[in-house]
Amino acid sequence: MIWNVPFITVALLIAIGLYAVMFKRNLIKIAIGITIIESGVNLFLITLGYRKGGVAPIYTNLPSGVTPQQMVLPVPQALTLTSIVIGVAVLALMLSFIMKMYQHNKSLDSHSRRLKG
């Protein structure tokens, strides 16, 4: 049961993020919402990669008490790292767009848009 806590957190994070993106009118809050969804997905990936009693496969000479079978293939960690890097780039770009939009519209409200119809 306790092992499900990370997955419940993932669901909560994604739900909170989606709520923010769907219902918050402030553009910065939308950006925050997207970051929260991203954290949820990253947490999901990293939780999948957890193995109880596993060690990182970084040894040339194994320390005593560690068997090769305990080593964990670090693919989910690599995926998460990539995803975090992409997330930073997206967040930076998004915030700079929001800044530009604020300069033009003098408003952070998603309802004060120019393009419609």
Binding site: V41, F97, K100
Partner: protein, 516 residues
């Protein structure tokens, strides 16, 4: 011939490398930079033709990144390690589209984008966009697909906002939000696959796919995300916003970028799941997406005043044809009718992808030519451009006739395939498709009338023909349109049919990686 097995990697690597060399060359000379970018794009076009030729004659090409012998996949513990590029007929077909559109857009941009204001960075992003598209199309690895999807959308957003108008920034922001959420859904679906199968390779997952509950959820996430990225109604709202505000050459690239997402959608439906899933349900869903896209897209295009927004709605409507054609194929998958007209419907849908990329790219470029001279996208302020911009109006007529499906242009050939094959499934599908075609013609008559016809307007009297490089960019696409229009039979049997068969033949795709 001069084919080399490293070509798939070079195709993705070369634009990435060239992207960051471009600003350095820019320090020396602007002319040299332009020549360099065009040379890179031309080499890409040449390489993709070589690769496509190889794929269409010899079958699937594999490239394993970083392997000693990249033509073979190292199977350790029966699991393919390393990132594998897998180019089958469909991927090569999409690569042809991306490279051709990128070349036309690159040539067009030489004079279209004014100097200063970071034009070298413009080319950097354009090349990265090309690399992103090719990466999405060639990769045989799901996570790699996600990475290239993000590279593509970040580069596109940077380019949409290139002019930094209030509109442009807003369009870019909307595209970024939408595509990032779609990409996160894709990543979640990839995580679901990894949780079950410990695999990321598309072929390997397809081989062991069980179609469990989690796989169903992943299917929904992938279909919804890629359907949104390709702009199908009712998830199309971002498309007119970002298409209309981007510089015209970039809009043509965005069309190709949306089609890369369309490719990913088809790849997921046919290769990853194939006949395992409820293909009738998903096929029906895609058909409904297609019908809605066609109809709502074209009816929303009719009252538009902004020339590029109007064309963007047409892009949505034309995407509907592709979804309809391929959706019919998916719906019939496995039934005995599939070989009779399912294949034909898919040929129509896939053929329409390349046709659409060419004529819609051309139309956006002509809209850009008008914007270049008048500085407005508002149709109400245009008139009488045909007196002075003769070549542009000829290109526009060709593009408009092709999109409306008037013989003998290429749009007619693909639409004919779709009409006839869909008629067998349900006449209603064909009727809607034809009605949409009529409305398409009607709205392009409106554009032609209000922009090119009429007396010389007073305020646009000093409107000259656009510079040569823009004309060359448009001419490249026009040439392809006319060629495809005159020889549709050759194109379908040599390019489109292999692509369709590659999409349908799931086992060949799996065996190319997993062996036997």
């Amino acid at each position: 011939m001069i084919y080399n097995e490293a070509i798939p990697a070079i195709l993705i690597g070369l634009p990435l490398l060239a992207a960051f060399i471009t600003p350095i060359i820019n320090l020396a000379s602007r002319k040299a930079r332009n020549a360099f970018v065009i040379a890179v794009l031309a080499i890409e076009e040449l390489l993709i033709i070589l690769l496509a030729w190889h794929v269409f004659t010899d079958g699937i090409v594999i490239y394993t990144m970083g392997a000693k012998n990249p033509g073979i996949v190292p199977l350790q513990a029966a699991v393919p390690i390393r990132i594998v590029l897998e180019i089958d007929g469909m991927a090569a077909f999409m690569g042809l589209i991306s490279c051709t559109v990128a070349m036309a857009a690159g040539i067009y941009s030489i004079s279209f984008i004014k100097e200063g204001n970071g034009k070298s960075r413009y080319y950097t992003l354009l090349l990265i966009m090309l690399a992103g598209m090719l990466g999405m199309e060639f990769t045989g690895d799901l996570f790699n697909l996600f990475v290239f999807l993000e590279i593509l959308s970040i580069a596109s957003c940077g380019l949409i906002a290139y002019r930094q108008h209030a509109d442009a920034v807003e369009g870019a922001f909307k595209y970024l939000v939408v595509s990032n959420i779609a990409a996160l859904f894709v990543l979640f679906a990839i995580a679901l696959f990894y949780a079950q199968y410990d695999l990321l390779n598309i072929a390997a997952i397809a081989k062991v796919m069980q179609y469990t509950q989690l796989d169903k959820i992943a299917l929904v996430l992938l279909v919804a995300a890629f359907a949104m990225k390709c702009g199908s109604v009712p998830m199309h709202f971002w498309a007119p916003d970002s298409y209309s505000t981007a510089p015209a050459a970039i809009t043509a690239m965005l069309v190709a970028a949306s089609q890369a997402s369309l490719y990913a959608l088809f790849r997921v439906c046919f290769t990853l799941y194939g006949s395992l899933m409820d293909y009738q349900t998903i096929g029906l869903a895609i058909i409904i997406f297609g019908l809605l896209s066609m109809f709502i897209g074209v009816t929303m295009a009719l009252p538009q005043k902004d020339i590029k927004r109007l064309m963007a709605y047409h892009a949505i409507s034309q995407t509907g044809y592709m979804l309809l054609g391929v959706g019919v194929g998916l719906y019939l998958l496995g039934s005995s009718d599939f070989n009779v007209y399912g294949i034909k419907a898919m040929e129509g849908g896939i053929f329409h992808i390349i046709n659409h990329a060419m004529y819609k790219g051309l139309l956006f470029l002509t809209a850009g030519a008008i914007y270049y001279r008048l500085g407005t996208r508002n149709l109400n302020e245009m008139g009488g451009l045909g007196h002075t911009m003769k070549f542009t109006s000829i290109f526009f007529i060709i593009g408009a006739l092709a999109i409306a499906g008037i013989p003998p242009f290429n749009g007619f050939a693909s639409k004919l395939l779709i009409y006839e094959a869909c008629y067998k499934v349900s006449p209603i599908l064909s009727i809607v498709a034809m009605l949409v075609s009529v409305l398409t013609l009607a709205s392009f008559i409106k554009v032609f009338h209000s922009a090119f016809m009429g007396p010389k307007m007073h305020d646009v009297k000093d409107v000259k023909e656009v510079p040569k490089s823009m004309l060359v960019g448009m001419a490249v696409l026009t040439f392809v349109i006319i060629f495809f229009g005159l020889f549709p039979g050759w194109v379908v049997s040599h390019i489109v049919h292999p692509a369709v068969m590659a999409l349908v033949d799931k086992t060949a795709y799996i065996n190319a990686v997993m062996g036997g």
